[in-house]
């Protein structure tokens, strides 16, 4: 066990897997000598050499496309898109290619590819360094999507993603790289060191894809969340004195429907929480699933608490960000419904 922040945990996952498996290659913008703008790949080039860890041209479409080529050769590319907001030039290669190659070749070719990308808001990054685009990708058949909320899970999930035989998108909430963030933006920043989930096992372990975690057990209402929002959910439940059950989905495709179903059937109420814009966001999918499967157990309509349907603003970040001020009243309302 070592206390690690999320960056260190992710870096360690790279190190563990690259040491075990020569097929893993890491590339992306600034990931080589420099070790990435968030330093997730720091030290890897020095340790594993330039032909396994290298800088890529600024061409996200090219990064994803060449990674697919490497994957069909038989390597396991573990690539970085510098910000999720920059992923769109790679969209065609992800959607039209990576996600379907197993299907269109009836399993003759597969794409064991992991695309990591720092994601989400809370850092005053403006509209091109704050987005949460998971729903675009959740809509694609054939792509798994992982969004960790703490160092322990980040490492175990990344190792599981690397070992997965199919393409995995791994979104890293950048606001919680250095410490958990509960949305109370005017309180002092806390480091991971004080958080139990910063106790990260050394060496190899996995946190399985497709399995949610119950971040807090509760009886009154289920909050479905992932990434930074798990911390917002926990802090808000505490602040409002609501006995919420907080489900940390960890993987949104495939989503852990059993855990969701069991929790909502128990509490009879559900709030879905995400940073991304509301319309056709992943919350719509969660809300539909809960309605389809738990309708007769529901005491109140499922509520969504999300970012607004605007581009992510710069100065009004805290007006936009779905923090405790938005979740709190929603919890109250769903309990009163």
């Amino acid at each position: 066990m070592t206390v690690r922040n999320m960056i260190e945990a992710l870096n360690d996952a790279h190190d563990v897997m690259m040491g075990r498996d020569d097929d893993i290659v890491v590339f992306g913008e600034d990931v080589g000598y420099f070790g990435g703008v968030f330093r997730v790949t720091a030290g890897l080039q020095k340790k594993y050499g330039r032909s396994r860890v290298f800088d890529a041209p600024i061409a996200e479409g090219g990064i994803v496309a060449t990674a697919i080529g490497m994957a069909v050769y038989g390597l396991k590319p573990l690539i970085e898109i510098q910000f999720a907001d920059y992923i769109y030039p790679g969209f065609d290669q992800i959607f039209s290619e990576a996600s379907r190659i197993r299907y269109r070749t009836a399993g003759e070719w597969t794409v064991p590819l992991v695309i990591r990308s720092p994601y989400g808001g809370g850092i005053f990054g403006g509209q091109t360094h704050s987005q949460s685009p998971e729903a675009f990708f959740a809509h694609m058949p054939g792509i798994k999507i992982v969004i960790p909320s703490n160092p322990h899970d980040a490492k175990g999930l990344l190792i599981a993603a690397v070992e997965d035989p199919d393409p995995v998108l791994f979104f890293e909430p950048k606001r919680i790289y250095n410490g958990p963030f509960d949305g109370f933006y005017d309180r002092p920043v806390t480091p991971w060191a004080k958080h139990p989930k910063a106790e990260v096992p050394d060496g190899h372990y996995t946190v399985p894809l497709g399995k949610a975690a119950i971040a807090r057990e509760g009886s009154e209402v289920t909050i479905l969340a992932y990434g930074t929002m798990v911390h917002v959910a926990l802090a808000t439940a505490e602040a409002e004195g609501v006995d919420a059950e907080v489900i940390d989905l960890r993987t949104i495709v495939p989503v852990d429907i059993e855990t969701i179903e069991a929790s909502v059937k128990k509490t009879g109420r559900c709030v879905v929480l995400h940073e991304a814009t509301r319309t056709a966001g992943f919350g719509a999918e969660l809300s539909a699933l809960v309605q389809e499967r738990c309708f007769y157990h529901l005491e109140a309509p499922v509520r969504r608490v999300t970012g607004y349907d605007t581009p992510y603003p710069h100065s009004m970040e805290w007006t936009y960000f779905p923090g405790p001020a938005r979740l709190g009243p929603a919890l109250k309302a769903v309990l009163e419904d």
Binding site: D22, D23, E29, D30, G32, Y33, F34, V37, R50, S51, F54, D55, A56, P57, I58, A59, E60, G61, G62, G74, L75, D85, Y86, Y88, P89, F124, G125, G126, Q127, T128, H129, F184, D186, A239, R278, T279, Y308, D309, T310, P311, P313, H314, S315, M316, T319, Y320, G323, P324, A325, R326, G328, P329
Partner: protein, 427 residues
């Protein structure tokens, strides 16, 4: 992974080439291997020459100011002293402005800033060579275009502070300016997108029988994006009246230009493959930047199509306030750049002509420093990020569409209620 196949067992093993810069932290930077053609040595084809006649110029450097800061050779734009003094003033102003705003970021008055130290000529001289009505599609280090076109410094600062005076309503990251009246298109944080847009604007001008041309700027690193290929393809095919500038400052955050292909050929040489005119220019020579831009503008106005210009320069400082270049390149790399400093070069040139002197330069810097300080004071009256920043819930929902649809109207009302509740003590 399986071992190499039986079939290939007797062949040499392949290996991957990954470009690496000559020097890393701890090394001494050495530019002595850099080939620097003499000022005045590049031929100047007629503006109406076929594109192929420019192609040798993609492999040399158009330079006007020699080592003694004398203007030499066929590219000397023969500018009058007033124009040169104005260019000197604009570059000096950009530098002082940058220094001041960088410091403001360090003081916590905003979230982000990007300087253009050493690259001031690329934008300033180009702005003076273009017509005031020509349209600019910049990337993020061409603040000199705005300064050269007399955009108010207070407006720039209000944008940087995202404050109540910010015409972009606090929506954009600092330095992502936009101003239609000054022919300056909204800067995008997504790289390279503006380059083909510049071509489209130029095509529209041609469709309409207009006389205005467009100019785009892109970094060396971002030429790797597909957008670059869209730009040069469309520009060539439709002979669009556009100037496509590649600002090769040799660093894309931590990646040196070799990662964008600079080990293989020049960025200007992209023009050869697409059959369009191309020039490679000493970007730290304001007169060369002016002359090349004016040449390309004349050519575009004559309906002879696009010119790709590589502005060869050096990013003297970090990528942005979020970057520390000493983590990936030797300290003081910028100071060693052999093509010098554009302000110092133009200043020496003017002094050599007897049109400037040290005292006047000192007085100019003092005057500009005062202007920047006064502007800053004025801008800060309207707030800084976190202290009087732009904050209007209603406006946050404006401009997603021309008219507010029901779902945004609903969300706006939710946001207002949330803000009101927060104001009454809730978080």
């Amino acid at each position: 992974m399986a071992d190499r196949s039986e079939r290939g067992a007797n062949r040499p093993a392949l290996s991957l080439h990954v470009p690496e810069p000559d020097a890393r932290p701890g090394d001494t930077i050495d530019f002595s291997g850099l080939s620097i053609p003499a000022a005045g040595s590049a031929a100047r084809p007629d503006v109406t020459a076929p594109a192929t006649e420019t192609h040798p110029l993609c492999f040399t450097l158009v330079r006007v100011l020699d080592d003694e800061a004398k203007a030499v050779g066929p590219w000397d734009p023969r500018l009058d002293p007033d124009t040169m003094r104005r260019m000197l003033r604009d570059m000096a102003l950009v530098r002082i402005f940058d220094e001041r705003m960088f410091r403001a970021q360090r003081q916590g008055k905003t979230s982000f800033y990007m300087k253009s130290l050493g690259e001031e000529a690329v934008a300033v001289a180009a702005a003076h060579a273009l017509d005031r009505e020509d349209m600019c599609f910049p990337t993020y280090r061409q603040q000199g275009l705005l300064v050269a076109r007399d955009y108010p410094l207070v407006e720039m600062m209000c944008q940087i502070y995202s404050n109540q005076g910010d015409k972009l309503k606090g929506r954009q990251l600092p330095i992502m300016y936009s101003d239609k009246a000054h022919g300056f298109f909204s800067i995008s944080g997504n790289l390279a997108t503006q380059f083909p847009q510049a071509v489209g604007w130029a095509m529209a001008s041609a469709i309409r029988g207009d006389s205005r041309i467009a100019a785009g700027w892109i970094g060396d690193g971002a030429t790797a994006e597909g957008d670059f290929q869209y730009a040069v393809t469309f520009a060539g095919v439709y002979r669009a009246p556009v100037i496509l500038n590649v600002v090769n400052n040799q660093w894309a955050i931590s990646s040196f230009s070799g990662i964008a292909g600079a080990e293989l050929t020049t960025f200007a040489a992209r023009a050869v493959g697409y059959g369009i005119a191309g020039l490679r220019v000493d970007g730290n020579d304001p007169l060369a930047v002016y002359a090349a831009t004016a040449w390309a503008a004349d050519r575009a106005r004559a309906n002879l199509g696009p010119t790709l210009i590589e502005m060869f320069t050096y990013r003297v400082e970090g990528h942005s306030t979020s970057d520390d270049p000493t983590a990936y390149r030797p300290q003081n790399a910028g100071a060693a750049w052999p093509l010098g400093d554009p302000i110092a070069r133009l200043k020496s040139h003017l002094i050599g002509l007897g049109e400037w002197d040290e005292d006047r330069h000192k007085a100019l810097e003092e005057e500009l420093g005062q202007l920047v300080r006064d502007s800053q004071k004025e801008a800060e009256k309207q707030g800084t990020l976190g202290h009087g920043h732009y904050d209007d819930v209603d406006s946050m929902f404006d401009d997603v569409f021309a008219e507010l649809p029901w779902h945004l109207a609903e969300q706006r009302d939710e946001a207002k209620a949330e803000t009101a509740a927060r104001g009454s003590g809730r978080k």
